[in-house]
């Protein structure tokens, strides 16, 4: 029996490789390639800082994802609370000793790299809540205690990020958390009432917003209000996307980005540039790749035996979907501008690190799909 297990274990390593979701892997590689090509275009058709850095990060984090996927899901399950606590500590550290850039303290200096803990929190809050609800009995999910506790788990990091200040990321953290609550089986009426409540309290919230945030909301409602100021980003982004047409202007030929009309083209507005150069067809193709990725993530969840893995995969897939939707709606002028990167595509190490950790855990759930967690 013992020997059998050992033999099995040896075999297990290769088996795990065989068990990786290759469709998901290939899709991620394609996405990485597209993002590198787009980054190359933002650098004006040359391998400059952004392209090089993005490439290095992609390679490191992709390898890391595979390593993570080979580690038993049980390990990640056990890490749930601890990692949440560490990130929370990092957020507190950020507030005190963070690096200030463009008016907000978001980064901490880890000597070999600057990291943005708020991005990591988007993933680890899912991990933490998934672990929390995994243990819970069905009838306890809607108990007052459980709701309160889970809301505190969401609210603490969210408020820590808000005071950085970084409204966009804190909203995304909250959304990630709420998604887990939804999947965990929280009563529909809570969502309904809180929705109602937030709509009613919206004017009060708006009055509490910082002036630049208020401006963004107003600008979203009418971009032509101040076409050279606050509305500039939305207008230029729409022009870039719209002028792309069906087939796009061609690789490296996006005039809007090339001539620097596009703001933040490396990060939040990367899709604009992509869409300008590759047009409607390219954009739909990109959406298709994202859809496949999300589908695979959810499928892995569906095939997993453990509730934790399912909950994590569903929530992670849905969160990724929401990030994509928010980012695209923003650049297409459907939502006000909040800082939210497009997963994998956007330049930014922390965001990619978080996303890749997420995919790693999902993949781990795939390789250990038969693993049940007590």
């Amino acid at each position: 029996m013992y020997q059998h297990t050992r033999f099995n274990n040896k075999n297990n390593f290769f088996q795990k490789f065989g068990n990786l979701d290759y469709v998901l892997l290939i899709c991620l590689l394609i996405l990485g390639f597209i993002s590198l090509a787009t980054m190359y275009s933002t650098d004006g058709g040359a391998v400059l800082f952004h392209t090089r850095s993005h490439f290095i990060k992609f390679v490191i984090f992709f390898s890391m994802m595979i390593v993570i996927s080979l580690i038993n899901i049980k390990f990640w399950f056990s890490l749930g609370y601890l990692s949440y606590g560490i990130i929370l500590g990092m957020l507190i550290w950020t507030i005190n000793f963070g690096i200030t850039a463009s008016g907000s303290k978001r980064w901490i200096d880890l000597y070999f790299l600057n990291i943005q803990p708020s991005e990591l929190m988007k993933i680890f809050i899912i991990l933490c809540l998934a672990k929390y609800f995994h243990r819970m009995k069905a009838q306890h999910v809607n108990s007052f205690y459980a709701i309160c506790f889970s809301l505190i788990i969401i609210f603490v990091p969210m408020s820590l990020v808000i005071i950085q200040p970084d409204l966009g990321t804190s909203l995304l953290i909250a959304i990630s958390g709420i998604v887990v609550l939804w999947f965990a089986g929280l009563n529909h009426k809570y969502f309904f009432y809180s929705c109602l409540f937030s709509i009613i309290s919206l004017p009060i919230v708006i009055s509490l917003l910082k002036p630049y945030q208020k401006l963004r909301v107003l600008t979203f409602l009418n971009p032509d209000r101040d076409p050279l100021g606050a509305g500039y980003q939305i207008i230029q982004s729409k022009i870039a996307v719209g002028s792309g047409g069906i087939t796009g202007k061609g690789f490296l030929k996006g005039t809007q980005s090339y001539l620097e009309f596009l703001p933040e083209k490396h990060t939040d507005f990367i899709f604009t540039l992509y869409s300008e150069e590759f047009g409607f067809i390219g954009s739909v193709l990109l959406l298709l790749i994202y859809s496949i990725i999300i589908y695979r993530v959810i499928r892995i969840g569906a095939l997993s035996r453990s509730y934790f893995a399912k909950l994590f995969c569903y929530s992670f897939g849905t969160s990724i979907f929401i990030y994509i939707v928010i980012n695209m709606s923003m650049v297409l002028g459907l939502l006000p501008i909040v800082g939210s990167p497009l997963p994998i595509m956007s330049y930014g190490g922390s965001s990619m690190l978080a996303t890749m950790i997420g995919f790693g855990i999902v993949m781990s759930a795939k390789t250990h799909s038969q693993q049940s967690i007590a």
């Binding site: 069905a138 996307v241 719209g242 002028s243 739909v284 859809s291 509730y307 709606s329 297409l332």
Partner: protein
């Protein structure tokens, strides 16, 4: 067991909710795709236009101005290549070093240097800074020799206005200078073609023909980035040069008029008596219009402005003068036409001792001793004032003014070509009643008879009047633009009742120049080829008092401002006349001694040049 059923419930709820969300996701995805479709397919055209508007910007270049040619095709206002020095500040590594080096090489004064630095601060770093707009060849080549040291400095050759004959044509052509706000407001055409550094006509023909001369801008289309920096040139659309305008003037004669009027204030107008073509028209003193092209310095400007001889006034067109005795041919003609007198009508001129007396006012002849008994011919010859007092008294001012107006006095000669042309004034009883509200008095008629009083004429009007007497009394329309082919219906209609009357006046003018005791006898030319007939005039600036009459001062003894204007009108050659002229020397003294001698010089050249002009018309020169 409970555990299993519990986890089953949980899983059920999880999967159910996943299904709900998946449906929602598909709907949302559909929404994004449709938004993309809307922007990229449906509204594509709109955004493509906006994108092009973003990235493409046009730069207008100054148009190349049309030229002015004289009758023989010589360029009298052309374009030359100005040597300029441009710097684009951002392309220079060490701006301070370069600009000091340039200052050293060009020997710029502190003031000029400061002006350049101020200009530099006003523009964006990628815009062109014009350090020097008109360098001499020496300095330009000096810069070129030191280019290795002046990274980013660009020697540029740009097209600019040039007046090769300097002050000769200033009052005819006017001058160009930087367009200012006023030019933009008043002229749509300039506004449309405006670019910084555009030069537009400020006076004269340069101003009147702005629309034809200005040409059209060349357009450079550039791709620019979000900050307005040019990235690449997409297209270059060459503009058209402005029209070239050929004038009727003869540069050689114009230069002579300038020579003759040197150091004097006055005007000379010369006209073809059949075509009305202006052969020369000069107002003195003049100034060099080239000084205005790149902006005149304050000192130079003050010098021109404060000159008591008024170089800025075009005396040929805007100088209103009393015609003095030069009006006498018209007075005589009017009297003959109205059959007030016959050529044999005689008046006794008794000199200063016995002036003509009327209602207590005395009217003196210019000659102290008097002329004795004079008929029309004699009176014109010696310019007897007493005779014309009497004729004017009999004629009346209204009939006189009718004739004068018929011959072109009191009206703009060039209609609307020159905006500074004055109408002059031919008074009559009705005019005085309307303008001054008082009745005409006989004394005013009498002095009008010798061209004093209210009557005012411009030199060009006198020239036209002479021309129309010389051509036998036919109406002509003066022109200065050669191919101005406006057909006037009343061109060449007779202005007389009896052709013989014109002949009598012409003959009287002949006697004045070519017979002994004629006022301009000393300026005559005996060769029949050049022989001309004229009439002198001396117009008083100030009323002559009894004291003045007793003193009888020489011209140079009187203060400049109080000296008489000297006038002369003439036509020639006497047989088969072809040209008429008018000369006025402000405060020059008597017409016979100052103005008439100039006519002698002029007619020699005018008639010599006539052959050349005729041959040029027949294109004989082109056949060779």
């Amino acid at each position: 067991m409970i555990n299993i059923s519990d986890s089953a419930t949980k899983l059920n709820s999880l999967n159910r909710r996943m299904f709900i969300l998946a449906t929602a996701k598909i709907i949302i995805l559909g929404g994004i795709v449709s938004r993309l479709f809307f922007l990229q397919v449906k509204e594509n055209k709109k955004y493509l236009t906006l994108s092009d508007k973003n990235r493409i910007r046009e730069w207008k270049l100054p148009p190349i101005r049309g030229e002015f040619k004289d009758y023989f095709g010589n360029t009298i206002a052309g374009n030359f290549e100005a040597y300029q020095l441009h710097i684009i500040p951002e392309e220079i590594e060490d701006f301070r070093y370069v600009i000091y080096r340039v200052k050293e090489l060009l020997e710029l004064s502190e003031k000029q240097f400061k002006k350049i630095l101020r200009k530099k601060n006003e523009i964006k770093p990628w815009e062109t800074l014009i350090v020097a707009d008109n360098l001499s060849w020496e300095k330009f080549s000096k810069i070129n020799n030191h280019l290795y040291d002046l990274n980013g400095v660009k020697p540029v050759i740009s097209i600019s206005r040039d007046y090769p004959y300097k002050e000769n044509f200033t009052h005819v052509l006017g001058y160009v200078s930087q367009a200012n706000e006023n030019d933009l407001l008043t002229n749509e055409n300039i506004k449309e073609k405006f670019v910084p550094g555009l030069k537009v006509g400020k006076t004269g023909l340069e101003k009147s023909f702005e629309k034809k001369l200005i040409g059209s801008n060349s357009v450079e289309r550039y791709e620019v980035n979000a900050y307005g920096r040019r990235i690449s040139q997409l297209a270059f659309q060459k503009g058209d040069k402005g029209e070239t305008i050929k004038l009727t003037v003869d540069t050689k004669i114009q230069e002579l008029t300038n020579e003759l009027l040197k150091e004097k204030a006055g005007s000379i107008c010369i006209m073809d008596i059949y075509t009305g073509a202006i052969i020369a028209m000069h107002s003195s003193p003049s100034f060099d219009p080239n000084a205005f092209v790149f902006g005149i310095s304050q000192d130079e400007w003050q010098l021109i402005r404060n000159n008591p001889m008024k170089p800025l006034v075009n005396k040929s067109l805007s100088g209103n003068y009393s015609p003095g005795s030069t009006i006498k041919p018209i007075v005589a003609l009017s009297a003959l036409e109205n059959e007030i007198i016959t050529p044999d009508f005689t008046v006794q001129c008794k000199g200063h001792k016995n002036p003509l007396e009327l209602y207590g006012q005395t009217y003196h002849c210019w000659k102290k001793e008097g002329h004795g008994f004079v008929n029309l011919r004699g009176a014109m010859k010696q310019s007897c004032d007493t005779y014309f007092y009497e004729v004017a008294r009999r004629l009346g001012v209204d009939r006189l003014s009718d004739t004068a107006k018929k011959f072109g006095l009191g009206e703009k000669v060039f209609r609307d070509i020159f905006d500074n042309e004055k109408r002059g004034l031919v008074p009559n009883t009705e005019w005085k009643k309307n303008a001054l509200g008082r009745n005409w008095v006989l004394g005013e008629t009498i002095i009008t008879g010798i061209g004093q009083g209210f009557i005012q004429t411009t030199p060009i009007q006198l020239c036209l009047m002479t021309a129309q007497i010389a051509n036998g009394g036919y109406k002509i329309y003066p022109k200065i633009v050669a191919n101005d082919d406006i057909e006037y219906l009343d061109k060449f209609t007779p202005l007389y009742k009896k052709a013989r009357n014109i002949k009598i006046v012409q003959d009287a003018m002949f006697s004045s120049t070519n017979e002994i005791r004629g006022t301009s006898y000393r300026s005559r030319l005996d060769d029949p080829k050049y022989q001309f007939a004229g009439k002198t005039g001396t117009s008083q600036v100030k009323k002559i008092t009894e004291r003045d009459r007793e003193l009888d001062l020489k011209t140079f003894e009187i203060p400049y401002e109080e000296r008489d204007h000297a006038l002369y009108i003439a036509f020639g050659p006497y047989i088969n006349p072809r040209y008429a002229l008018s000369i006025i020397i402000e405060h020059g003294g008597s017409g016979g001694t100052v103005a008439a001698p100039l006519a002698k010089e002029l007619f020699k050249m005018i008639i010599d040049r006539h052959e050349i002009r005729k041959n040029y018309d027949n294109k004989k020169y082109l056949d060779i």
